[in-house]
Point group: C2
Chain length 124, copies 2
DNA sequence: TAATAAAATAGTAATCATTGCTGATTTAGG
DNA sequence: CCTAAATCAGCAATGATTACTATTTTATTA
């Protein structure tokens, strides 16, 4: 286990304790409950560092915000264009890693996104 | 075939004639060779409209720009973190559509992204 | 332990891709 | 031809993200 700063550790815990794919700003609001005077820049910097490290996933679904995800198991992101929520869907296998390798590409991270409408919104 | 404006039609042709996943700004520069006084706002608006229509794909790989893709066949995007290029890799099947359906989610568009290093950059 | 270097932080200012706005122009359908 | 709706060019505004700086914390070495 790496020796993280209190700020970085807290940010990581926030991501581990939710499945809501928060934005940097949302993470900031959560972390402030523990470290009230943390700065937004610190949140951005640590999210970038953790993402670069491969500990968390950085995800862009086209809503103007970057979303962050602590779940590193292979899974798809279902983004409802109606309500904006991002749902997780487990994947049996991470087919992309193999596809990348076949193309001479070394895969480090894979992202699966589906755009559509969730069942809840379709019911309305 | 829809009746597109000259601007929208030209933008679409630019996307159909490349596999480089251009940004809005890059599309703008190409289209200007045909329509010199087109405005950047028009490019953005039409890219959004075409994307909303499902005619093109809007893709964010985390480099700060939105990328656009005229290729609607199921394929993965291999994003090299070294050189920044986005390579296409054909997929045998669009497994995400099925995964979405299993979760009660109506799929309209699917996006596959792999982050890593391309063979060319690894050789250096 | 004390001294020093390196890394991380809080707070704030700057950036710049994207969106919004407005008045002019084009298109569609009678 | 005529009117309404759609689209446009040009430019201003927005706001998520990044950059910067002085300060604080952590790591290293003697």
């Amino acid at each position: 286990m790496k020796n993280y700063s209190r700020q970085r550790e807290t940010i990581l815990q926030v991501l581990y304790s939710t499945d809501t794919h928060p934005t940097a700003s949302a993470v900031y609001n959560e972390v402030r409950k523990v470290i009230p005077n943390i700065s937004l820049g610190t949140v951005y910097r640590n999210l970038a560092a953790l993402s670069e490290e491969g500990v968390i996933l950085s995800l862009s679904v086209g809503d103007g915000y970057e979303h962050f995800d602590g779940n590193r198991a292979p899974h798809a992101h279902l983004h409802c264009k109606r309500c904006g929520k991002i749902y997780d869907a487990p994947l049996k296998q991470d087919i992309l890693s193999g596809t990348a390798k076949e193309n001479g590409f070394s895969s480090e991270t894979t992202v699966y996104i589906v755009y559509g409408v969730c069942s809840k919104c379709r019911a309305d």
